[in-house]
């Protein structure tokens, strides 16, 4: 489990454009670097990210080794119904982590 900071408005009006911000603590080790002993440091990145809002895909992204550590993603969605925004991402070890944020439509 890595640390994640999610920023989604708790409340919104129907039809409102909301900004979603996600910050993930991850080394995003590129696989190109070597350690002090000269041995290559194995690649270790989050390679895919998916955000859904009440099961509808908002954003699907592939990430590559050139992304800096602690990746930050920011994107927009239209607020429609009260429900859950789900964030799922997978790293090179095949581990999937899922985080959720609730949103209420007034």
């Amino acid at each position: 489990m890595v640390r994640v900071l999610i920023n989604v408005p708790k409340k919104a009006h129907r039809g409102e454009v909301i900004e979603i911000k996600v910050l993930i603590s991850h080394p995003m080790e590129s696989g190109q670097r070597r350690n002090e002993m000269g041995q290559p440091i194995p690649r270790d990145i989050i390679h895919s990210f998916r955000c859904t809002y009440n099961n509808q895909v908002v954003l699907e992204a592939e990430l590559f080794p050139a992304v800096a550590a602690n990746p930050f993603l920011s994107f927009f969605a239209v607020a429609e119904d009260t429900g859950t925004i789900v964030f799922a991402f997978t790293d090179d070890h095949g581990t999937e982590q899922v985080e959720r944020a609730a949103i209420v439509i007034e």
């Binding site: 640390r3 900071l5 920023n7 911000k21 910050l23 603590s25 080394p27 995003m28 800096a68 550590a69 602690n70 930050f72 920011s74």
Partner: protein, 256 residues
């Protein structure tokens, strides 16, 4: 020029040098002001500032007790109870007869009150807790005591600040006062203030302590850096706080 030469000579002879800030120094200018608009924007928005990943971890550590022990919250209440504390550290500890840094203070609570193992200054745990506590003082003026029992430590810090180090034979003062505002290998030389630490440095891709920063400056002039908890570093930290009087706490800041 003469003055610099004289200072350098006195430093070389081990004669204490009066605090250089007594020269007609410009008002302190935070590294924030010298950073690019993009870097400043990162610091301005807590949801974008990666340092908040550590603050979040600090909140978890603050309220977690190990094996039926007492958490920080158990003795201190909410983190907000620490408002203003970070702004006045390092602070003089009368029982120990010396100043302790915020990280050392936390270490004392961890080892004496919680029975935990000692940790490295740059451990994720101490970085997270100092970031959380620093945040409670954000916007407050840096108010580290410089006189009374702190005077000798301030003076030692001033002496070290003016001392030339390393194969490049440069002092903190030469870079951060005389050359501040100019560039070195493409990066701007800031005035070298300590009001944002621990901070997220883009080059480190991580949160880091003031002592890590100073270590970088010393290896930059090809000097052997001080040991992690060396009294020299504490003296420099105290002096830097006094030299930056007028600045407010920015923790957790973002720098290039």
């Amino acid at each position: 020029m003469m003055r610099v030469a004289a200072c350098a000579l006195m430093a070389a002879m081990g004669v204490p040098v009066a605090p250089i800030s007594a020269q007609a120094a410009p008002p302190p200018r935070s590294g924030y002001t010298d950073a690019s608009p993009a870097t400043r924007a990162m610091q301005d928005d807590d949801s974008v500032n990666p340092a908040f990943l550590w603050v979040q971890q600090g909140e978890t550590l603050w309220s977690t007790a190990r094996d039926g022990g007492t958490s920080c919250a158990g003795c201190h209440g909410a983190p907000a109870s620490m408002q203003g504390v970070a702004a006045r550290y390092p602070a003089f500890d009368a029982a120990r007869g010396r100043p302790v840094t915020l990280a050392q203070r936390i270490e004392l609570c961890r080892t004496e009150h919680q029975g935990e193992e000692r940790l490295d200054q740059d451990s994720e745990t101490l970085l997270s807790l100092t970031a959380l506590l620093g945040l409670q003082s954000r916007g407050m003026p840096v108010s580290v005591q410089q006189d009374g029992p702190m005077q000798p430590f301030h003076d030692e810090g001033a002496r070290l600040y003016a001392t030339q180090f390393g194969q490049l034979n440069l002092s903190c003062h030469q870079c951060h006062d005389e050359l501040a505002g100019q560039t070195l290998a493409g990066s701007l030389i800031p005035q070298g203030h300590a009001n944002g630490y621990p901070l997220y440095r883009l080059e480190w891709q991580s949160l880091g302590s003031l002592y890590r920063r100073i270590r970088n400056c010393l290896t930059g002039v090809r000097a052997t850096p001080f040991a992690p908890d060396a009294p020299e570093l504490i003296a420099i930290e105290i002096y830097l706080a006094g030299r930056g009087r007028g600045l407010v706490v920015e923790t957790p800041a973002v720098r290039p």
